[in-house]
């Protein structure tokens, strides 16, 4: 097959997928990106013409949860991405080569495609003990990140560890762990996909956005795509009506819990957490944490292991009321009161979801990436 041929749709046909299926996929992508349906043909055109962009995926102080999340991707699937959509030149969990041969693959990409490849980082970067808390091939994570992210057209920090430091950076941060933006200040076109793990649907939507528009999406002040992090979970929650009606779960397994009442009193952090879990859900829309009866733990927000815990203590009630007795009042009065309550408890940063940009967040807003399409 020629390099400029219509490979992606043709692949679909070879696997028994019709042109209609392919267009349906493009429409789904348009919808995931919060674009009008009219954009679907443009997405199709981009996928048909694209030569595979190169991606390298680095794992540092990680649990591999974001790699596993990537393997759950469906639109496109992990096998589509690996075989057809991208050239995944380095990914330790799936790559065939090991040791020297693996290092050489990474080295070759960084050398031969400088400024043109995409980097994904999973896991935080430790700065303590001269970097000895995380070494690969005898080199520290920090050294590798500086080199690889420094030469990338863009870097996607996948998951809360790579984004904000995550669990390793939770108090007392024993290893001096940092997210990419703080560990490698000024990295070009940094895009943060927070959450623990990041949802595969948001990674694929980001990749398709890039392939379609040759540009990166609009970001919030944490450099997270607005299409995925632009709204609080509470704003889209399927249980919101129960919050507004003052109907709360009082104990796990009680009647309210079985009926899907609001989990606010059980500690839900949905009101102060920004992510599209309620709409995109997880595992191809099968379910999501609140949908299975457990409160949100706020995993997409900075320092959530410290600021959102204890996880089963509910967010502060309205000032002037007893904590538990105020919850019904809050429910009836709506979120304005909740916002005031957060402010009263010094939780403005949580309620508004904003903090001062770190060193790595001072990079200029991303624009179109030049030279990434050979």
């Amino acid at each position: 097959m020629g390099k400029s041929s219509t490979w992606f749709p043709q692949q679909c046909e070879e696997r028994g997928l019709s042109r209609r299926d392919f267009m349906r996929f493009c429409s789904a992508m348009a919808s995931a990106l919060a674009l009008p349906a009219a954009f679907a043909p443009r997405i199709a055109e981009a996928l048909e013409k694209a030569k595979k962009p190169i991606l390298v995926w680095l794992e540092f102080q990680d649990c591999c949860g974001n790699t596993e999340s990537f393997l759950r991707a469906s639109r496109p699937s992990a096998s589509d991405i690996v075989l057809d959509v991208l050239s995944v030149d380095y990914q330790e969990t799936i790559m065939a080569a090991a040791g020297r041969q693996a290092e050489e693959a990474l080295k070759a990409t960084v050398r031969d495609h400088k400024g043109a490849y995409l980097a994904v980082v999973e896991g935080s970067i430790p700065t303590g003990e001269g970097g000895a808390y995380c070494c690969i091939g005898g080199r520290s994570a920090l050294e590798i990140a500086r080199e690889v992210c420094g030469g990338a057209a863009a870097t996607i920090a996948m998951g809360t560890c790579a984004t904000f430091g995550g669990l390793p950076a939770a108090a007392p941060n024993p290893t001096g762990a940092l997210g990419v933006g703080d560990a490698v200040p000024g990295v070009k076109n940094l895009i943060n996909l927070s959450a623990c793990p990041a949802n595969a649907e948001n990674l694929t939507a980001l990749i398709v956005h890039y392939l379609t528009f040759k540009a990166w999406p609009a970001l919030d002040s944490y450099r997270r795509p607005l299409f995925a992090y632009g709204k609080a979970i509470h704003d889209n929650c399927e249980r919101r009506a129960h919050f507004d009606a003052g109907q709360y779960v009082e104990a796990f397994g009680d009647e309210g819990h079985r009926r899907g009442y609001c989990l606010y009193k059980m500690g839900c952090k949905g009101p102060v957490t920004h992510q599209n879990c309620p709409t995109v859900r997880w595992n191809e829309g099968t379910n999501w944490p609140i949908g299975c009866g457990h409160p949100c733990i706020g995993c997409a927000e900075p320092d959530f292991w410290d600021k959102m815990s204890p996880f089963y203590r509910h967010l502060p009630g309205a000032p002037g009321f007893g904590v538990m007795s105020s919850v019904d009042t809050v429910g009836l009065a709506g979120t304005a009161v909740v916002g005031a309550a957060f402010a009263a408890h010094g939780l403005v940063s949580l309620a508004r979801g904003r903090r001062k940009p770190g060193a790595g967040e001072s990079a200029p807003p991303p624009g179109p990436v030049k030279g990434s399409q050979p």
Partner: protein, 568 residues
Amino acid sequence: MTRVVVDPITRIEGHLRIEAEVDGGAVRDAWSSATMFRGVELILKGRDPRDAWAITQRICGVCTTVHAIASIRAVENAVGAVPPPNARLLRNIVIAAQCVQDHVIHFYHLHALDWVDVVSALSASPAKTSALAESISDWPLSSTKYFAGMLARLKAFVERGQLGPFANAYWGHPAYRLPPEANLLAVAHYLEALDWQREFIKIHATLGGKNPHLQSFLVGGMATPVDPDSQAAINAGSIAAINAHIAKGKEFVSKVYIPDVLAVAPFYKDWAALGGGVGNFLAYGEYPEADGAKAPLFLPGGVIRNRDLSKVEPFDPSKVSEHVKHSWYEYAGGDDSALHPTKGETRPKYTGPKPPYERLDTAAKYSWLKSPRYDGLPMEVGPLARMLVAYGSGHPRVKELVGAVLGRLGVGPAALFSTLGRIAARAIETQVLVEKMGDWVAALAANMGQGDHRIHDGSRWDPSTWPAEAVGAGFHEAPRGALGHWVQIRSGAIENYQCIVPSTWNAGPRDAKGQRGPYEEALVGTPMADPSKPLEILRTIHSFDPCIACGVHVVDAGRREIVRVRAL
């Protein structure tokens, strides 16, 4: 002697480095080193014990249920919470789903490329591949047309010149022995398994909200409501969805995974005599079939010494100890001592080379893993340990399947103590579990039908109901083996937390007596056709299914008091 360094070991979870001395075409000695460290236990200190499952869960995103399960069991043991029957059944389904999906991913995506030559598959005949497929299974995706399409896809991929994760590998290595058709068949199943795992694990999304990192665990039960009359709870529709996934899982395991193992193994029979390792095996056992502490387990626990299958000893927690002689930690009483987890100390002391480095000083300390020992002996844990303990204990289905596999391959039980034995044991366990899962779903449905909606023991939820000081232990069989968590609670907060993890047992360095860990011992004698292409090392290391993030989690940072927990 040639010093071979393999770092990174890929197709595993985490950061692992193997150094080996190679002479005369074989490995003479080996050292296993974990090169990443986070300090999760220190982060746990002072926190609400009910949050510990979520924190320890993040030790590993591959084994995404295992630390959560061990943690809630440890805290329940400490505070006296007893999960109701529905929670026990929900957990059994979740644990088994994890094990089944994880084992399939391991075989196809982490291990297969050590045995399957992707480049050789390019010269396969689709018709012959179809004949081979139909000779080993009645799996429907087996036509000539199907394999012709697969071959075309593979060729198109290669012709584009961007080989991605398949670049720079060991294709054409003399240790690859499968005919092109078997290679093409395996490539097809690699891709099918990639899609299958995504579907099967929706059981976790249904019961846990999402995967990875399910979010329905609770100290005292599960957060997943059950109620046939609610649309916001597990109802008949959810039960049907889970059963459908199990049925498809059973079909894939029995028609693809098991036949593939049986088809590939005869080409690599010499690996039934390689990679044997330490020959001691430990399992805690799993899948409680009743409620309470003394419940019978579907898969039994026990200890086997020196490959003696005729004698399975009961596990005695007091015989566990940890060494740090070759680990980047120090003990107050000297690094030659071995400490029981109830008296454990975890003070990191990095004495290795400053990165970047070429070589570790393997005569001194060389790993972030400690060396756990049982009665002073290194122990292998994992599917092989579980299947051997079950076999030696007379588990009927395990005995039947082990016998059938050995018979098909024409080998005796001694072949189990090997690299190939680990692969076979993992496949057998997958079959046993995927057959069993439906029973737990049926039991859950029966309870729901009788109006039992209980999912949580709330009587010990409020920390004010706990004693001022409490200690507990939680044991679990993770896909990769025996996992233990120990917790000490004071005034409602975590005072100390200790985990001893499967990959610490398997991947740990030498102990104070100089005894090699299981990985190290298993590598001794491994043939190496070309020391610059360490394919054979990968085969044996991957047969253990390393999970290094799990193994390295302890920290003290030099200012913690001695960990004192009681092993139960």
